[in-house]
Amino acid sequence: MPSKNLKYSKDHEWVRVDGDIAVIGITNYAQLQLGDIVYVELPEVGVTVERDEVVCAVESVKTAADIITPISGEVVEANVDLDDGPELINDDSFAAWIMKIQISDMSEIDNLMDEAEYADFCENED
């Protein structure tokens, strides 16, 4: 379930900030739009990514969706459970995180939406 501590990007990712680490996944709205998820291309651990860069991808039966990082920094961990269980994202998209990034610029967090803002944002997407 979403928590009050989550932040959201306009690309339908959720971000949980844990010290200087950002844990990133896709939202329930995103997984519903995608449908059955059948493959997650995970990012390479150790690479440095810039905000708005395509880092990896989530593929459903119908389509491939780029994962665009809302946060700059170094990828320190990828959720390898998704290799064999991509459907975990459909089961609970807030539990099935995709990657952890060591945040290089904390101010980027301020650009993200809170839960209420994100709910409004989704309403306008429909």
Binding site: G35, D36, V38, Y39, E41, V54, A57, E59, V61, K62, A64, D83
Partner: protein, 368 residues
């Protein structure tokens, strides 16, 4: 955007709707994989009313229809259905269609949704020297497909007609089913036994509801997503992917649907030339070795990095637990067992060419 007569039905069933070539259509109801599996195991019902119907009538209708299509109409009887590509002079495809022989002088072409106007214009433009009438009657008819091993049992509960009397690629051109009048054929696009039902647009919601209620837990409504994975596993071509104005039926592996001999038809010269010169490119099946899904348009390379074609369709195959693809490849590489590379995003991942179809079709062909 076009709506089928079943639009309200889809909304009430909670379908996820998408724009499909100008039509607002259900892509899924309960989930593509679940719907796919239900069709393989039991039955599924699909609204395919976006498909078009073009009627050719008149004294020359048989002769003219035969001139339009690559397959042969010789020996066709009322109630028979045939599949055929319809080509341009250069051998490229205008469309691939089903031809229903309604009577000796009445032929109904079931055409792809996105090609309705193009096909109608093409057919009309070529009809000049024939005594025929060509009508686009797509608006008048809805089309419902009921597919899967239990399709016949479910439908038999809502009609007095013995469905065994409708053989594979045969139709009953006017019968009562679910309290409405319809044309019913043993045809489909899933690789399973099943039926396609043509009925008046106004009658479609009643019939759809009747089939769903009668089928109960034996049937689920299925969207275009499952329709695509089902046809893909069976390697049935999809116009715009495995067939197009640039891909001839020979390249698509549809030689069995091309007539040879004296009878003239549009595209004959080009197709015969293509055979005598050797078919240079062919739709080839492949299985992914590495992870990833090869999608339409991705480039295909040899192990040495030489580009040899592109992906036309690719998907996971729910019934096979494999990820497969179809690609238009340089004919030197179509033999099974060739390792190839697919360009997916910024990577090249490994795949191997395999035989088609991926899923063995379970058609019910009657011994005559």
């Amino acid at each position: 955007m076009g709506k089928t007569p079943l639009y309200e039905t889809h909304i009430s069933l909670g379908a996820k709707m998408i724009d499909f070539g100008g039509w607002i259509m259900p892509v899924q109801y309960s989930g593509i994989i679940r719907e796919h599996n239900k069709v393989r195991e039991s039955a599924g019902i699909f609204d395919v009313s976006h498909m078009g119907e073009i009627l050719i009538t008149g004294p020359d209708s048989a002769h003219f229809t035969d001139f339009l299509i690559t397959n042969s109409l010789i020996g066709i009887k009322p109630g028979d259905v045939i599949y055929s590509p319809m080509c341009y002079q250069n051998g490229g495809c205008v469309d691939d269609v089903l031809i229903y022989c309604l009577s000796e002088k009445n032929y109904l072409l079931a055409v792809n949704a996105s090609n309705i106007q193009k096909d109608y214009d093409w057919i009309t433009a070529n009809s000049e020297h024939f005594d025929v009438k060509v009508e686009n009657i797509s608006e008048l008819y809805a089309q419902i497909a009921v597919q899967g091993p239990r399709a016949q049992k479910i439908l038999s509960e809502i009609t007095d007609v013995n469905l065994d009397s409708i053989g594979f690629f045969k139709s009953n051109v006017s019968m009562e089913i679910g309290g409405v009048r319809a044309m019913v054929s043993r045809t489909g696009y899933t690789g399973e036994d099943g039926f396609e039902i043509y009925t008046a647009s106004d009658d479609a919601p009643k019939l759809f509801k009747e089939i769903l209620e009668t089928g109960s837990d034996r049937i689920v409504p299925c969207g275009l997503g499952a329709r695509d994975t089902l046809r893909f596993e069976s390697c049935l071509p999809l116009y715009g992917h495995e067939l197009s104005n640039k891909i001839s039926p020979l390249q698509a592996g549809l030689k069995v649907f091309i007539k040879f001999g004296e009878i003239d038809y549009i595209g004959k010269k080009a197709l015969e030339e293509e055979i005598s010169c050797g078919i240079k490119k062919r739709i080839t099946g492949f299985e992914m070795i590495d992870k990833g899904i090869a999608r339409n348009g991705y480039s295909v390379f040899t192990k040495d990095g030489e580009e040899i074609g592109y992906v036309t369709s690719g998907s996971i195959c729910p019934s096979l637990s494999k990820t497969m693809g179809l690609a238009l490849l340089n004919a030197d590489y179509i033999k099974s067992g060739n390792e190839i590379l697919i360009g997916i995003r910024n990577k090249k991942v490994r795949a191997i060419t395999v035989k088609k179809p991926f899923y063995k079709k379970k058609y019910r062909k009657r011994e005559e």
